[in-house]
Symmetry: C2
Subunit: 514 residues, 2 copies
Amino acid sequence: MQGIIHDDRELRATATGAVRDEEFFREAKDVRVLTRTEARRIDRRGRFVEVVNLDTGEERRIAYDKLVLATGGSPVVPPMPGADLKGVFRLYHPADAVAMRKAIEAGEVRRATVIGGGLIGMEATEALAEHGVVVTIVEMLDQILPSLLDFETAAYLRKHLVAKGVTILTGTRVLRIEGEEGRVRRVVAEEGAHDADLVLMAIGVRPNTKLAREAGLEVGRSGGLRVNKYLQTSDPDIYAGGDCVENHHVVTGEGCFVPLGSTANKHGRVIGDNVTGGRARFPGVLGTTIFKAFDANVGRVGLTERQARERGHAVITAIAPGPDRAHYYPTAQFLFVKLVADASDGRILGAQVVGPGDADKRIDVLATAIHFGATVDDLPDLDLSYAPPYSSAIDPVATAANIIRNKREGLAPSLTPMEVKAKLDRGEDFILLDVRTPGEYEAARIDDPRVRLIPVGKLRARLPELPRDKEIVVLCQVSLRGYEALRILAGAGFRDVKFMDGSLAAWPYPVVCG
Amino acid sequence: MQGIIHDDRELRATATGAVRDEEFFREAKDVRVLTRTEARRIDRRGRFVEVVNLDTGEERRIAYDKLVLATGGSPVVPPMPGADLKGVFRLYHPADAVAMRKAIEAGEVRRATVIGGGLIGMEATEALAEHGVVVTIVEMLDQILPSLLDFETAAYLRKHLVAKGVTILTGTRVLRIEGEEGRVRRVVAEEGAHDADLVLMAIGVRPNTKLAREAGLEVGRSGGLRVNKYLQTSDPDIYAGGDCVENHHVVTGEGCFVPLGSTANKHGRVIGDNVTGGRARFPGVLGTTIFKAFDANVGRVGLTERQARERGHAVITAIAPGPDRAHYYPTAQFLFVKLVADASDGRILGAQVVGPGDADKRIDVLATAIHFGATVDDLPDLDLSYAPPYSSAIDPVATAANIIRNKREGLAPSLTPMEVKAKLDRGEDFILLDVRTPGEYEAARIDDPRVRLIPVGKLRARLPELPRDKEIVVLCQVSLRGYEALRILAGAGFRDVKFMDGSLAAWPYPVVCG
């Protein structure tokens, strides 16, 4: 839809340009593909599938020894007045994207509303905006990407989207879509109405399991088909893979519904092995996700802090914002890294990495580490590749882990930006000590009389200015100098000192300048 | 030197611009730094270091409870006639790079010779070439980067460098450097002489251990100071870190000398913890290396195939060339991936990833996997982040592991390109079956009458054309279709079929076009 892929046939082509159509499968693979053919019923006792040719209406039975279900998923379409108006789209099949692109290229679309601030909504937002369309996202929950990111990470991304001209309404529900002459014209949400020439329903995707359920196959709590590690359904002669199944989550041990092309490819290899006599296993997923949002790369793996707490983990987290490579190297870019670990044993539970820098590399390192049950003590030991064009000498992932180690060892008491905001709002008496340079302070700072500025380089000399009987919360730009200031204060005998996690880079609220 | 970093003070600055000079360390860190001061002797019994002020000649003793040695390394300078001529450089300290850049900017340099085809030689070659200097590399061994890459990986990189105008002489030794009026003019190697206005001696780096050795501290077989996992030398009150120490290699269990900034940073944290009462450990290194060579990213980790064989491993390898992200995505770039595993248990021993694509990400995933003792069965299970702008649905790292799995299961007998070349050279009678398209065949192919072309899509129909009593070696562009053809032939009862590892993309010898 974005126009990067010019022809949807490219998506079906091999790397050398052969389009994977019915003829290709027959000639190259000796596989018969029946298109325009619907599977209506699985007869497990008779071991056949009833299919119907949608063009001729002809019905027939296809016998099987082993059956593989790859029925995919479909967009969730909630009952909503106006959902059938012209200009209201879902986005799942490439044909949906082609239809949306046609509408945009016909010049019919100036304003679009995306209902749902999840993954597909985000990807579509960028594509629409790059066609010059003004986009409004409406998300029912209090943040975008609620199942993928924590609040402060989503807030960082939200700032980026808003800077690109996107309007984001959170914590509000769409009541109805209104049209004129059968075409969408307006979206009415709890907060009020706004104009729209195009609406994308991007609430989510659900697995297509009707055929399997009617055949009596088991469905998991996530709604996907239940499969064992060999990807057999509750009928051992019927395998299932791709977006219709429930995956095992390696961190939680629970079933989860995470439909992804990479997972479907892995399923394919395992099922291919097993239906031909092998015994391959699929160990599960980590919920790894990556996508592009304008100039930001957005990655996540494992559990968010919220998801970890919901599952009863005692959680310890770190936010490590900073450059993705040597800070003096001209292509260095910012990354916002949040790491989530179990407070009891230090095991990594999840991570979020967002920003213009190389997020995917850090996510893949973390996905690999989590796969092997890594703790925060393992990450800084990794011999990751280092040269200034590629990374910093201590990778942000290792820095995040070191912060958690410092917290676990009692060296680094901390407050989250949300906790600091709550203290400010409650009117508590404490010092919010900004240890950056005066120039940085001028450029952007938290606007509150409790803020004091002492650059870290002058802190040792200016200790007498600080009261010893008051709580001090230190902050800087990314928490590096803040941590150093904390250690200086602790070393000088100050007793109630904390630092603000992620400092200003992670502050999800307004700042003042000048 | 390349001009990317404009001022060497940038290298000493923090991310917020404070230059880390003597004053910075005193004010911000409460650390006294003595410059222009040489440590002459360690008195372990008296627990002091004798130092001399190089400007005043004043000598003094500095007492210690704990001593940390961070004496670094120095370039190896072999005895060579002409090595003291003007225009002959070493490259270790930023000042060396500044001096070289001055010579280049003065317009004195049109041709440069780099003696040594290792890491520093490669990095310098790019910097010189980007200043318009014509570069010749002279390497004594039969390939560039002999301690970092295997032959075919180095051959791929060599083609890239040659295409950029670099001359590479391997298997030849420099006999002397000749000059006129005290300035370098010519380099004389065994193979002949060539002109040079600048010579860079880039043979390697050795650890500076004189001070430590004279104090009776132990040195390892690699030449670096021997330290335990707490980074204590043979005197427990003396720690050592950075380029002067021998590191523990996690894969071999041996001591190794791999001086790197990232390792030095890790040492710093461990030593800092331990001299202040902690008990931090440094588990060792994997020899991870990354660098940029023009448009190619060159990464490696663990052992090369040669290093693994030298240590007695039964080795199984795979070459997986291909795009680094979805092949239809416009920013997709080529990567040459070589994976080295132990044939007995499938444990990953090392990898090399070279090409214009994102090599560093794959190296970091592999470094993490090797750290945790991963086998080839683990890699394809990793839930790595997937979206078309970032990776292919099956990452090249997983593909390489799957190839080794197929080989271990007996599904994929193979020959390396070097083995195929040797068979051709020996005049053996076999069929080299190219299964690409006629267009690809026209564009580049191995020039030999034993080569036969049957595109994989037609192979099932054209099986009768192939003799069943002859050895068949299948190849394509990257080995994907080659493997498929191999399975088609095996399924049709052909008994002596192999595929060529990495196919044409890994062929280190000339091809013909048209």
